[in-house]
């Protein structure tokens, strides 16, 4: 290139080469830019960011400090955790771990609830995995065969198994038994009620609505009181039912009403054409419902069913009001143990209970969100 190409007074400036690209200003790119736009876009916003960050860091530090850094890990009684300034007293949990899981179930029979638990997991995981095969057989096993198996294993009295009264059950075992029974029993009842509520037959519709609205209108605690104190009076004299079974009846009736509303949502979401198509094929009511409508409707409401289960899982804590020691109830009962009376016992118990409940419920809610996203076929408004 020579000097003649440079713009003189007689010729316009013409650029002949490209400028080398420059990096974008740091103010709008990279972490600094992101932080500037998202965290510090104004004085008010910056203040909010700082307050929230301080809160988050403080809470995180309190938890880590209490649960891990200052925690006591070994010991056999309260002496281990009595020192001032210690954090979580984990030996309080580990020493009564069996009790927290199984309540007062005899220690040499702990393998029985453990087996039931593993069988349940082995059946549920493929049932909830969309790609796993043999759904029908799997569902049949879980909803029909498993409850019988679980009852025989847990209660005993058959096949040479020692009978363990339900009074001895407790801890996480009772929590899971109540929640699972509630769902397994309430699903068929809820489907019937939902169909009844959408029925054209006025009497069936009225009975279903009355049943659903009654149970949805009262708190679970009163239902448990009803099942414990009132139900025995309604049975022929001489019949006695087990305390846990009473609570289970109450929970099943209560959750059936909620399940019915979930299933109704699914039934309403099925386009009318599906009903009309089925009728045009000459199907009667039950074949139409069982073969065409319910399979589609139930698939739609899996997230709703899981959410109901989460609610029920949390609500099982209420059975403590009728002297059944569920997981939270048994932890609360353990606070009264003089062997472990330390200032940190209560906090340790709540920390452990909170972690367990959170892991269960958060896991299930993630699953329900996953199914929701899978079912979402993109037909958005």
């Amino acid at each position: 290139m020579t000097d003649t190409t440079i713009a003189g007074p007689d010729r316009p400036f013409i650029r002949t080469e490209m400028l080398t690209p420059q990096p974008p200003p740091t103010a709008v790119s990279g972490f600094a830019g992101w932080a500037r736009q998202n965290l510090f876009s104004g004085p008010m916003n910056a203040l909010l960011t700082l307050v929230c960050a301080a809160l988050a860091v403080y809470l995180l530090w309190v938890f880590i400090d209490f649960l891990l850094l200052r925690a006591v890990w070994t010991g056999t009684n309260r002496e281990a955790c009595i020192a001032p300034g210690v954090g979580a007293c984990w030996p309080f949990i580990t020493n009564r771990f069996g009790q927290l899981l199984y309540g007062f179930y005899p220690a040499d029979e702990h393998w029985r609830p453990a087996t039931v638990f593993f069988v349940a997991v082995a059946l549920i995981v493929p049932l909830l995995t969309p790609s796993a095969p043999y759904k029908k057989a799997n569902a049949l096993l879980f909803f029909v065969a498993f409850p019988i198996f679980a009852f025989v294993m847990l209660h005993g009295g058959y096949f040479g198994l020692r009978t363990v009264e339900t009074r001895a059950w407790g801890g996480l075992l009772v929590t899971l038994v109540v929640a699972t029974t509630g769902i397994v029993a309430s699903l068929p009842l809820g489907i019937l009620l939902a169909l009844g509520r959408r029925s054209k037959l006025p009497l069936i519709k009225f009975v279903s609505i009355a049943f659903i609205e009654f149970w949805r209108g009262v708190p679970l605690i009163t239902v448990l009181f009803f099942a414990t104190y009132m139900l025995p009076l309604f049975l022929p004299s001489g019949w006695t039912i087990d305390g846990l079974l009473r609570a289970l009846v109450g929970v099943a009736l209560f959750s059936a009403a909620y399940m019915a509303e979930v299933v109704r949502g699914g039934l309403q979401a099925i386009p009318k054409g599906q009903y009309e198509g089925a009728m045009a094929m000459g199907l009667r009511y039950w074949p139409m419902m069982l073969l065409i409508v319910l399979p589609q409707a139930l698939k739609l409401v899996i997230p709703g069913i899981v959410n109901t289960f989460i609610g029920l899982f949390k609500d099982t804590t209420l059975v403590a009001i009728v002297s059944i020691f569920d997981f939270l109830g048994i932890i609360r009962a353990a606070f009264a143990d003089p062997n472990w009376a330390t200032p940190m016992t209560v906090y340790t118990g709540f920390a452990f209970a909170g972690i367990v409940y959170f892991v269960f419920c958060y896991g299930m809610s993630r699953y329900s969100r996953f199914v929701e996203e899978r079912l979402d076929t993109g037909h958005k408004r």
Partner: protein
């Protein structure tokens, strides 16, 4: 070309040749008859069994016990009550306590839920994360866990009366509860109440006038601040005019405990805190979903009309979001009211604790007592739903 049927008309109406068993109406009638029979049989069995069982166990029946002396005390009473009052009176006290805890809980849960729900939609990443964490943690723990945590781990761990935490030297928190100053309305305070009523009427008239003027001339009038001024100022002026007969009763430490002021039971405080925090998480999700359900075009249209962002949110987005939010919000309010029955676990004297607990133990009349308890919750539920349905219809979209 019209098609015409020829030939003689059928002599008699066509009759279905299929069996009556295939007739839909007949089958419907049979199904209903079966259900009716089952229901009648079940109810009949229950009544018959209950009568025999009660007779065998020699338990009295009927509602006469409501007039008997209860003989137990209740440590939070809004109306006159003592050990010699009747069970009916105890029931009234219990219902009022239930409504109080539910009412206060609903107010706090709504405030908390709206703040967190809006925070989850904030542009600020940090605020969003903190609000999300709040929602996930509160919703995934049982309510009873929240209540027991606040009652046993937080409020029971407060210091004794001597070392109370103090806020502004007026509010004291210790392991016996929360002590707050109380207003004592002396002779002549009724004037303030009358002035307040006048102020309320004034605000309604002002609002009507301001709307009419805006519609006619387009001029805005600061209704909100004027109303606040009226509602606070008018009663204040009226009270000052009669020599301000209102005194404040401060809580004061005397010996081992506080006297004066009002005391909030720790049970009440734990319950309100736990219910608000738990339900707040659910309301936050409802608020978030409601705001997200409003089409973004609405905000853009509001902006292109020249509305500022705050005004657009208040006048365009929120009214439409409310429409989506009201049905689920109603069921959350009802849940909170029903969940207040968990008070029985910490011994706050509400319906379940006083009536289904103490009264049931003393009288043994399970059927009547549990029926009354369930009936009261049902009435509360139905009245709330009816009110919210009415409100829902008022704000509902009027379509062609």
């Amino acid at each position: 070309m019209a098609i015409t049927h020829e030939g003689p008309a059928p002599a008699e109406p066509v009759r279905s040749r299929s069996s009556i068993l295939n007739d839909a109406r007949f089958r419907g009638l049979v199904a209903q008859a079966v259900v009716a029979a089952i229901v009648v049989f079940a109810i009949g069995m229950m009544v018959w069994n209950a009568q025999t069982n009660l007779a065998n166990q020699r338990i009295a029946s009927g509602f006469g016990f409501l007039n008997q002396t209860a003989g137990f005390g209740i440590n939070q009473t809004m109306v006159e009550y003592n050990e010699t009052s009747t069970y009916g009176r105890a029931l009234l006290v219990a219902v009022i306590n239930t409504l109080m805890v539910a009412g206060v809980g609903i107010v706090f849960a709504t405030i908390l839920g709206f703040l967190v729900g809006v925070g989850r939609l904030s542009k600020n990443w940090m605020v969003r994360q903190v609000c999300t964490a709040y929602v996930e943690v509160t919703r995934n723990l049982p309510l009873l866990f929240h209540i027991l945590f606040w009652y046993l781990a937080v409020l029971a761990a407060m210091p004794a009366a001597r070392n109370s935490y103090s806020l502004f030297g007026e509010i004291y928190i210790n392991n016996r509860g929360i002590y707050i100053p109380r207003f004592v309305f002396g002779e002549g305070s009724g004037v303030g109440l009358i002035a307040f009523a006048i102020a309320v009427v004034g605000v309604i008239v002002l609002k009507k006038w301001a709307t009419a003027r805006r519609n006619a001339t387009g001029q805005q009038f600061p209704v909100f601040w004027t109303s606040v001024g009226l509602l606070i100022g008018l009663p204040l002026i009226a009270l000052l005019a009669v020599g301000f007969p209102v005194t404040i009763d401060h809580p004061v430490l005397k010996g081992f405990n506080f006297s004066g002021g009002s005391r909030l039971l720790p049970e009440f405080a734990a319950l309100v805190i736990a219910l608000s925090i738990y339900t707040g998480g659910f309301i936050a999700e409802i608020v978030r979903a409601g705001i997200k359900a409003v089409n973004y075009g609405q905000s853009e249209a509001a902006a292109s009309l020249g509305l500022k962002s705050g005004l657009a949110t208040r006048l365009v987005v929120i009214p439409q979001a409310l429409r989506v939010m009201i049905p689920p919000l109603t069921s959350q309010y009802l849940n909170l009211t029903k969940n207040s029955s968990l008070a029985a676990f910490v011994g706050y004297p509400e319906l379940v604790q006083v009536f289904a607990g103490t009264t049931l133990n003393q009288t043994g009349q399970a059927i009547e007592i549990i029926a009354i308890t369930m009936g009261i919750y049902l009435v509360i539920s139905l009245v709330t739903s009816a009110f919210m349905n009415w409100y829902n219809q008022r704000v509902a979209l009027i379509e062609r």
